[in-house]
Amino acid sequence: MRAGTSFKHPHLPAILAEPPADGLFFEVHAENYMGAGGPPHRMLTTLRERHALSLHGVCMSIGAPGLLDPRHLARFRDLVLRYQPALVSEHLAWSSHGGTFFNDLLPLPYTRATLERVCEHIDQVQEAIQRPLLLENPATYVAFASSTMGEAEFIRAVARRTGCGLLLDLNNVFVSAANHGYSAAGYLDAFPLEQVGEIHLAGHSEQRDDEGAPLLIDSHDRAVAPPVWDLYRSVIDRIGPVPTLIEWDSDLPDWPTLRAQAQAACRVMQQEAHHATC
């Protein structure tokens, strides 16, 4: 598997009308397939017969201080068993607190205490699914005064202690670096690139912060931005080809437009890594 896209149901007829492209894979949000049956499972089963899958959890709340929801963990495990995805990932973030689900990837301070808790949660997930999880770096809009370490340092420690792999979201790196005034290249220098098992690319939008300066939003609603492609080329040049996924979740384009973004990632891998096929 080389490059892929988010799987969106309206694209299924167009995907099935094409001969299955070599190395094309699809990523789904796990929560969308946690219903008992019906069309979602039928569509995913059809897709799985032709393509490798990446199962991407959005709501595990690995970054929450509280316990993981054992029912949610069991549902996640059941999907891994049922669809045998090539990649399984989740976020360094939290989304539930005090019985409320906020449907957003919320940030956490990076401290000894949160490191401890995140590692416990990842151990628990990996024990349940019996395989390594890929942990994704977040896009963030705020920092915490109580943080005692940088994000790349935190993620390096998590990977070392839990043995998890990493999902490097380069749009998130670009967005967070711009929002917090640090260099994306510097972040990547500190990031344990040798642990990266998947790369995400996506589009972002722009708002304004309190001072009127740009505040980048991880919006997944447009094509990948040129500076994110630059980061991607630099990473592939350093670590070689890695399964790469184009995330596009709203203002969906037609299938050929989305597929073209994945093909562009393939070309980068061919050029930078002198790889024969894609």
Binding site: G66, D104, F144
Partner: protein, 255 residues
């Protein structure tokens, strides 16, 4: 700081715009955090409005997007989701609509919402083969009255004092053809006989009949309830209708 404190400090303001940004939240070079924290507030609110709009597309087409967003915002702030499975969200929304001051001019809107909620439940319901047409014919006529059925997991009934099925059908998809005019009460049957969820209008007595069967009552009791409610109830037509709609999965012969 103990790990428990950050989410407890961060969470309350997400659904309550009067709250300030949490004290521990910061930005580089002493920048302000109001707009930054607002990104999260906005993500939560907008994504949950979208979640409700995805569950209730006909309600949104009827009210218009602006009205719907305002109504959904009130609802999600009062009743945020408790489960990460958003297709389970919004179960209280029909009751909220029924009590919503600004929706009182649309008294049937809550019933359209109930049909949409049932539609999504049917969409995600477990896969089970529906009872075939031949199954009933094979039963000894003397045993029919005691016959019970296993309901299909997708089958739902929504009863309305309004023409809710017609209004739902007209607004389910963009530009749908208006259904035949109806001004009276309508009972909806929501089921999934094959690949797709269907919503059909039940004939007189049909809701009492199927409601009893879905609740596990024997055929004789269900038919009696249907005749009580509607003397014109047509048993054989309703039996054929329930088989073709895939409402039941298996026979449970009486003792």
């Amino acid at each position: 700081m103990q790990p428990a404190e950050y989410s407890a400090a961060f969470a309350p303001g997400l659904t309550c715009p009067r709250y300030p940004a949490p004290a521990d939240v910061a930005a580089h070079r002493g920048k302000g955090v109001v707009q930054r924290y607002n990104v999260y507030r906005n993500n939560v609110t907008v994504s949950l409005i979208h979640a409700l709009a995805d569950i209730y597309p006909a309600v949104q087409r009827i009210t218009g997007a602006e009205f719907f967003r305002a109504m959904a915002r009130f609802h999600l702030r009062a009743t945020p989701p408790t489960s990460p499975l958003l297709f389970d969200y919004g179960r209280d929304f029909p009751a909220f609509i029924a009590a919503y001051e600004y929706a009182q001019a649309l008294p049937w809107l809550a019933d359209v919402a109930r049909i949409e909620r049932a539609w999504l439940d049917a969409y995600h319901a477990a896969d089970r083969p529906a009872l075939g047409a031949g199954a009933l014919a094979a039963v000894d006529p003397a045993l029919l009255a005691d016959l019970r059925f296993e309901p299909h997991p997708a089958a739902r009934i929504v009863r309305s004092r309004y023409p809710a099925v017609a209004i739902f059908t007209q607004h389910k998809t963009e530009g749908a053809a208006p259904p035949p005019q109806s001004h009276g009460a309508e009972d909806a049957l929501i089921s999934r006989p094959g690949m797709d969820v269907i919503v059909s209008r039940l004939p007189a007595g049909g809701a009492a009949f199927l409601g009893n069967l879905l609740a596990g009552a024997p055929l004789g009791t269900a038919a009696a309830a249907a005749f009580d409610e509607a003397p014109s109830f047509d048993l054989s037509a309703n039996l054929a209708g329930m088989v073709s709609a895939g409402v039941l999965t298996a026979l449970q012969p009486g003792d």
